[in-house]
Symmetry: C2
Subunit: 389 residues, 2 copies
């Protein structure tokens, strides 16, 4: 199987999106909303080699603003992929051993069906006509991709933040297809505070006059200001007060005294402005709306009559939950709730809380204790799964 | 002295702003920026009666979006003043006993000199030409007001959040004028995280096309969307995750199922949208820029060669600091730092941390333990000050 071949796409697109496959032509995907999607594209990247019995597949699920380019140089930003520290030869997700796949989520903006893509049925841009999707829809699209690739079972599914939500959904919907699951820095439902932050970001975007009711791409504008504000605010929630204090404190930006004006006096202001501006260059504003909505809708217990444990009943998957002490977006208590639910169905579950002041973004950063815990769990699980070193 | 008289203003203005006095005609106020202000208006309200020896004056300092209308029906919003629970006959700040004054801060939008007011020197609207002000400037303007009113010494100065910053500045700049000081839910400097949140709010406003470089009032527009987004975000920081969870959780707004659209599915979304919209009706966007900047600039230790204790050296003021367990904007640790500095100069200081899940806004809410602590401290201090009951 040559996963790289995609005769219908030009070299530029392949470089940008990785491999793009068309799914759902004959059996479309019925979304949680009732809308039907198909045929539709899913774009993905893979790292390492699939072994002969196809038993070494790790599915990595990306977070809100991540994408399929985990490792190596990102084709759009030119910087390293978001999990370059985790995925590669000799790294915790060792590509000398595992075949690692990551697909762009449904609703994303990097080649998988989403508001900035073409509806294959009509040839028109989806734009705001793209249907609202859920974490469950994202996971079902991933399962269709694996079916298409002839991969029946995953050694492991892993991800942080919204990636962790997908891991939980995988473990609940396709328990028979998973040997191990690693939900990191996540929750089984989005909290009121997190919905609130997302809603502010969405309002910043949709009240930007350049959003044009979501039809900005047709007019070659983008709601730059709204998207930048949304990103700036969200970025604060990904860090911690301690990390911001340690990194920036009240240090002034390129000056020795206050300006008594509205320029960025403080480094933290410049930093945030830069975060906002650079995000606009790489992310689609409508995608931001769709994906935040999917996270807000996530509530695994609600999908199981209010009983989280029953989402996992009978599971034989090995779980490792990881949380970070300074993560106030997805605090440890929310991981602990999941652990309790898994304990209630006698699941095989490990739980590691990592001490760090780096906040929610810890799962993307150089946190050695986290990397060691991950490596330890994966090595143990691989041994049980009969994967030779 | 009839504090109510103000012959030059019409009834409508007096109703809206309370009493407005003109200050700094002969001795203008030199701001921290070096700019000079004068003559300028300060608008204030008072409650209770000044006693014969003028020893029963309490100065209340309002927070970012507060104003001088503490108690009774607010002339603009029609709802109760922000400290109606605290200020009144028989209440912790008992107006049968104390003469309570609150003036709109410099840079505010309720009658004191600020960007939505007329520059008395030119007859033109200040707009974005209003100079950047600091917490120190606000406090010096308040001192000028008290001079004007013939009030030499305050029994107490009290305030929460930015009001607490003003209390600290008062205690540092005019120790001889204060008998007691109550800084509530505040800090001696604004943290990197808080600066970050403010900067996002400012960016939301100034990137709104209707802001028009700050000159929107001349064109009868207001940057509604930007100001509403700024308020929505800030409002989240005034609450706590627990309070949001308790109050709204994931409850749906006027519906029984998810919409799979971008309407407000959840109550917390509707609530925030309402907060944003109603704020726009009562607050000036430029004022929001100026006042947030003043808070960001606040760093009392930096004004004293990096030594917070020396800001209070030799003080004879009685302090009572109050913080709230779930306040993550001004966490207890920041109040404790102030207590340590006061201890280092052997000041008379009490410190109360109130257990509540209501977050930073606790100082505005019905938190009985807080009200009891405040009443206890004020009664004790009043007795020491020779104020009869």
């Amino acid at each position: 199987m040559d996963l790289r071949s995609n005769a219908t796409l030009d070299a530029q697109t392949i470089k940008r999106f990785g491999t793009v496959v068309e799914l759902g032509e004959h059996t479309p995907l019925t979304l949680d909303s009732g809308a039907v999607l198909g045929p539709f594209h899913v774009a993905f990247q893979s790292y390492g080699e699939l072994n002969a019995d196809r038993s070494n597949v790790v599915l990595v699920c990306h977070a809100l603003t991540g994408d399929q380019h985990i490792s190596g140089k990102h084709p759009v930003t030119g910087v390293k992929g978001w999990w370059d520290m985790i995925v590669g030869p000799g790294k915790p997700l060792d590509t000398d051993r595992f075949f690692v796949i990551c697909s762009n989520v449904l609703g994303g903006c990097m080649g998988t069906a989403g508001p900035n893509q073409i509806d294959l049925r009509t040839g028109n841009l989806y734009g705001p006509d793209f249907p609202v999707v859920t974490i469950g829809d994202m996971v079902r699209a991933q399962a269709m991709l694996l079916d298409h690739l002839g991969i029946e079972k995953l050694f492991c599914v892993i991800g942080g933040s919204m990636g962790g939500m997908q891991v939980l959904e995988w473990a609940s919907t396709y328990p028979e297809r998973l040997f191990a699951a690693v939900p990191i820095a996540c929750a089984s439902r989005h909290s009121a505070q997190n919905i609130a932050f997302h809603e502010v970001g969405r309002q910043a975007i949709i009240t930007d006059p350049d959003w044009k009711q979501g039809n900005y791409l047709q007019t070659s504008t983008i709601p730059r200001q709204g998207l930048a504000v949304a990103r700036m605010m969200a970025h604060i929630t990904y860090l911690s007060e301690a990390a911001l204090g340690r990194k920036f404190g009240r240090n002034l930006q390129d000056r020795f005294a206050l300006t008594y004006g509205f320029e960025a006096d403080f480094q933290v202001e410049s930093y945030l402005r830069h975060q906002g501006q650079s995000f606009v260059e790489r992310f689609d504003a409508n995608s931001y709306l769709y994906i935040t909505k999917a996270m807000d809708y996530f509530d695994l217990a609600a999908d199981h009559n209010g009983d989280l444990a029953s989402a996992f009943s009978g599971t034989t998957t090995r779980f490792c939950l990881i949380s970070f002490t300074s993560d106030w977006l997805f605090p440890t208590a929310e991981s602990r709730e999941i652990v309790h639910a898994l304990n209630a169905v006698a699941a095989n579950v490990s739980f590691v809380e990592i001490e760090t002041d780096t906040g929610h973004d810890a799962f993307l950063l150089d946190v050695p204790e986290f990397h060691a815990a991950l490596k330890g769990f994966l090595n143990g699980a691989a041994a049980h799964h009969g994967l030779n070193n």
